[in-house]
Symmetry: C2
């Protein structure tokens, strides 16, 4: 059957195929208290009058209007006061000619009365009432059915139930509501290497945590469906086949992702072909080329998603979520797509529609800037470093900086960050960021951070050491950190300085070359080389692991902690927090520099005010202030 | 204590007082699967490297890069193929100089290897591998921790958890997430006359269904709180006091609404004064003047809402929801407020801030028009006929048509209707409207409908009979309905026509004067008067109940059904559907007329196409087509 699908389908054809799947579940009845956010399945007509009785709409006295004709301040009329009716009580008195009955707002009009004289226009004298104003029949009375009458159309089918609809349904006395069913979406994760979050991970055996199951489950909920997670089948293909059949029986739609092994794909083919029909195999879109679409017999449809998390969420959002929303009766939230301006240009020429992951940031004037995020499809952090995707048609090879693009947010709840920072990583910086509302920080290192600032994308850059160069930036504040060599707690190799690294047979773990810490180490080695009359290169060659750069400030220390290394480049704070030993090599300043066009942006000002507030700063940073 | 609050507080002071209430609950830990929509309570740093191992990022062969140096298409090099590593498996082979190991995407790099040659650049020959391209160390390898390294900042406190954050938390292996608690909001409803929806209603005793409890509960959920409904205490004040104390102990905030009786207010005062403090009594805002704000001891705050549903929801939305959102860590959704243009002018001069209920409709060019909705505070249908409120400052007495105003929607999910219709009510029309997406129809009668069309607000008006007059409108379609007298099933009074109403002692129920049906009846009576040489007035005077007009097309028939009347004005369709008898008096056309500026609006075109499609139309209307 695969042979039928030699050509990749167009994205439009894929959308059409998926739209043709029958996912709509039966309607159901839910208690009113659970109806919020649901969609009415049928029209609701009023079955009762609201109010159900002629109702006093003011505090006062129920009268026969004709008894008051002619009354005014100068010439009031007097009526016999014969009783009272309160809200929630059945009248036990009739209003005969010449009489009046005290009545409170919301109470039933007593028989005989056809109007209410408000209390401010009367006086009570013993058992009689003095009326200073004539009223007409119906005055201050809300007749039965005025609000809504029995038989009238109250709410139409397809209405989304918000608090106000719950109000009207309550007024009609309904404690159950007929609503559209929520499509049940099964999620089957395939891939021998996947472990459910919370489970024990064996990285040495190539295991990784399963990212897609819960991510897609949350996306299904956003789209109005009910996710149903099936257990991992691992590499047991009989079990996987059994799970697919079970999911097909229990769900309106079955999704799978991450079938990296050919055998897993074969099992899926087998079940689809035996029970249903393969409708589409492969779409001309990046990412997502290998998407499978088919049916699994009468009751269920099947869509196979890519394995990489960003690809899976992108394809889900673009192709699958609309079908789930449609089955659930929901419309796409207005917040799901926003417009922005490309901050940099982008080239791409693979001849496929591209769903380009992008990040968002507002510039100094509040304009929304869009920049491509490409960490490689395998990176799960792209999920939080990108905000959504721009759909670039197959025939567009170049998007210029300044062009307007439409960004499909990963989910309607995604909000662009209020502060975009890039640069060096640092534990004090992490704490500072905790005080800024909605920051995004990309720890790309000092050097790359400065490069990005020159491109004009970030709000701030954080630079360690004296590496600022010619960059045009406004310093918001700085502090000093102590750096050196992290060693085991008791320093068994008796490391005292850099020379031990060169002269002893110690396994060293470095930071990567983008890090300001690595630059500082390089400078210290150069100084040592001068001192000893040798070259930097010679010393570096003698250090086992000098070229083994790691990504984050704690990584070398953690290598020491787990015994993978004897010495790591790091900070005193890190050594202290992990209960490791530390050999100080010096101090390094860390500076926060603002993009000169963004100094008035509220989040930048917040960051600046924290940096300038000694008390807050000292508590957060715990280092020396520059 | 009441004496302290002689002056009404300003809305700003009320907001400030409410903001000062301590509603924030403790943080809690929830399973990852339930974390969507929650707010991270603390920063999450990575505790593991992702990936946890050096990972092949392409299918190919793991090699020592230096073994491939110099290889190209013309001069390939050959390596011994010594094994294979697949994703999810621990390598059982080492890459020694001169060897290669087959590797699949996602698999662990075997010891000794530092690069991957992609499969497309190789050939396999027996047990050896031909390599056509040199690779550098690190090529096609994703080192451990590249995605995110242990110790790095992953997500900050206050982050809203959407599917993408769930993805990153999954990648870190977390199956539990520390989140902000949701404030628990108790809802105590007071008022002797209230019955919970679903309960038996005794309208003759002035009972009405409790609208506010479920409505406010849904609003609490929208704002990120957990509503907790307490049972009605009715008029048992000891029980009410007990419930208030219980709610204060169990909730972060207690809301009550609809305390119409002085005794109920006294109980609330008593509990607030004994356990906490009354902070505010009365706000200079319409609606909502009697708002109470206080504390109920250590753990809980108290706010008393107005009793009328629109007032209660308005005050909740304006003053209470922000405090709940703040306690829950949420920001107000962007969709909660929209801009529009006043369609008509509005005067108001009471010297208080006014929260004016308004409806929304888009005009022909897509502009959002805003019009005031004032059905009286007691009407629950205003809940669905208005979309939100415009806050009009106390010193603004006049808003001109064409002014831009900001509308606070009743809840973020509220969407303006796509079609706004006004005019006659009719059962066939109800079915037609079911086919139009998101309509709002105000059954104000033919005459009032035409008046509103002349004001330019609605998209369409529905008119019964030949009452169009000079109105400029475009007819979209029409049908004919049969009208007459609805009588009990066996027609016990042997009614044969209008004359029986005049000559016999029958209790009649009419429609109200805005209805086209009432106009038709008036015409028939005028004709009868002519025929009998008398006046219309004389005949009408002889009909018992002629002036008793009801709001909806089924109301007179329902009066007959329940024995409250002997004869009612109505339609054959209504009589048939209620199994009543019917005496035909004639036929009346019902026309759908479009606002001439809105004929191109999508919803108007949808309605027109249904009216013009004979098959659909006949099924829906079941009447004769004009």
């Amino acid at each position: 059957m695969r042979k039928q699908f030699r050509d990749l389908a167009s994205p439009a054809a894929a959308r059409e195929t998926i739209a043709s799947l029958e996912l709509t579940p039966d309607a159901e009845t839910v208690p009113l208290a659970d109806a919020r956010g649901r969609i009415l399945a049928t029209r609701v007509d009023a079955e009762i009058d609201v109010p159900g009785f002629d109702r006093a709409s003011m505090d006062g006295f129920a009268v026969r209007a004709r008894d008051t004709f002619g009354a005014d301040e100068a010439d009031p009329i007097e009526l016999d006061l014969v009783g009272a009716v309160h809200a929630g009580a059945e009248p036990d008195v009739e209003v005969r000619p010449g009489t009046a009955v005290e009545i409170s707002t919301g109470a039933v009009m007593p028989p005989g009365a056809d109007a209410v004289v408000i209390v401010e226009r009367t006086d009570e004298r013993d058992d009689s009432l003095v009326v200073y104003k004539a009223v007409a029949p119906g005055d201050s009375v809300m007749p039965a059915g005025t609000d809504i009458a029995a038989g009238a159309r109250a709410l139409g089918p397809g209405t989304r139930i918000t608090p106000r609809e719950i109000g009207l349904l309550s007024a009609l006395g309904l404690d159950e509501v007929p609503v559209r069913g929520k499509p049940v979406v099964g999620i089957v994760s395939t891939g021998d290497e996947l472990v459910r979050p919370g489970g024990d991970l064996r990285p040495e055996a190539g295991q990784i945590y399963d990212v897609n199951s819960y991510t897609i489950a949350a996306g299904v909920e956003d789209a109005g469906g009910v996710p149903k997670l099936y257990p991992h089948a691992g590499d047991d293909y009989d079990e996987m086949e059994r799970l697919l059949r079970q999911a097909a029986d229990e769900c309106d739609l079955v999704l799978s992702s991450g079938s990296t092994s050919a055998s897993a794909v074969d099992v899926i083919y087998k079940v689809v072909e035996e029970r249903g029909e393969l409708l589409l195999h492969g779409v001309s879109v990046k990412p997502g080329k290998p998407m499978l679409v088919g049916t699994l017999g009468e009751g269920s449809a099947y869509i196979g998603l890519p394995g990489y998390p960003v690809s899976a969420l992108t394809i889900f959002r673009t192709f699958v979520a609309p079908a789930i929303r449609d089955a659930a009766g929901l419309v796409e939230p207005q917040t799901a797509t926003i417009e922005g301006t490309m901050a940099v240009h982008e080239r791409y020429a693979e001849g496929r529609t591209r769903l380009m992951p992008v990040g968002l940031v507002t510039d100094g004037s509040g304009e929304m800037l869009v920049y491509p995020v490409d960490k490689g499809s395998g990176a799960t952090t792209s999920l939080v470093e990108a905000d959504g995707v721009v759909e670039v048609p197959a025939d567009v090879e170049y998007i210029a900086a300044g062009e307007t693009v439409s960004v499909q947010l990963f989910s309607p709840d995604v909000r662009p960050p209020e502060l975009l920072g890039v640069g060096e990583d640092d534990p004090a910086l992490s704490r500072l960021l905790d005080r800024v509302p909605s920051p995004r920080y990309l720890a790309v290192g000092s050097r790359e951070g400065l490069r990005r600032l020159r491109d004009g994308v970030p709000d701030v850059v954080v630079v360690a050491g004296d590496n600022r160069g010619e960059t045009d930036a406004v310093e918001l504040g700085s502090w000093t950190r102590e750096w050196g060599l992290v060693v085991p707690a008791d320093n068994p190799a008796e490391v005292t300085g850099l020379l031990d690294l060169v002269e002893s047979d110690l396994r060293f773990v470095n930071r990567d070359t983008t890090s300001g810490l690595r630059t500082e180490l390089g400078n210290a080695i150069a100084a040592l080389a001068d001192e000893r009359g040798t070259t930097r290169h010679e010393l570096v060659e003698a250090i086992d692991g000098f070229d083994h750069g790691t990504k984050a400030f704690e990584s070398p220390a953690r290598a020491v902690l787990t015994g993978r290394a004897d010495v790591g480049l790091g900070l005193r704070e890190t050594a202290d927090s992990l209960d490791l030993g530390f050999v100080s090599l010096g101090r390094q300043s860390v500076s926060v520099l603002a993009n000169p066009d963004r100094t008035e942006k509220p989040s930048v000002r917040t960051l600046e005010s924290i940096l300038k507030d000694s008390d807050v700063f000292d508590t957060l940073v715990g280092y020396e202030r520059d």
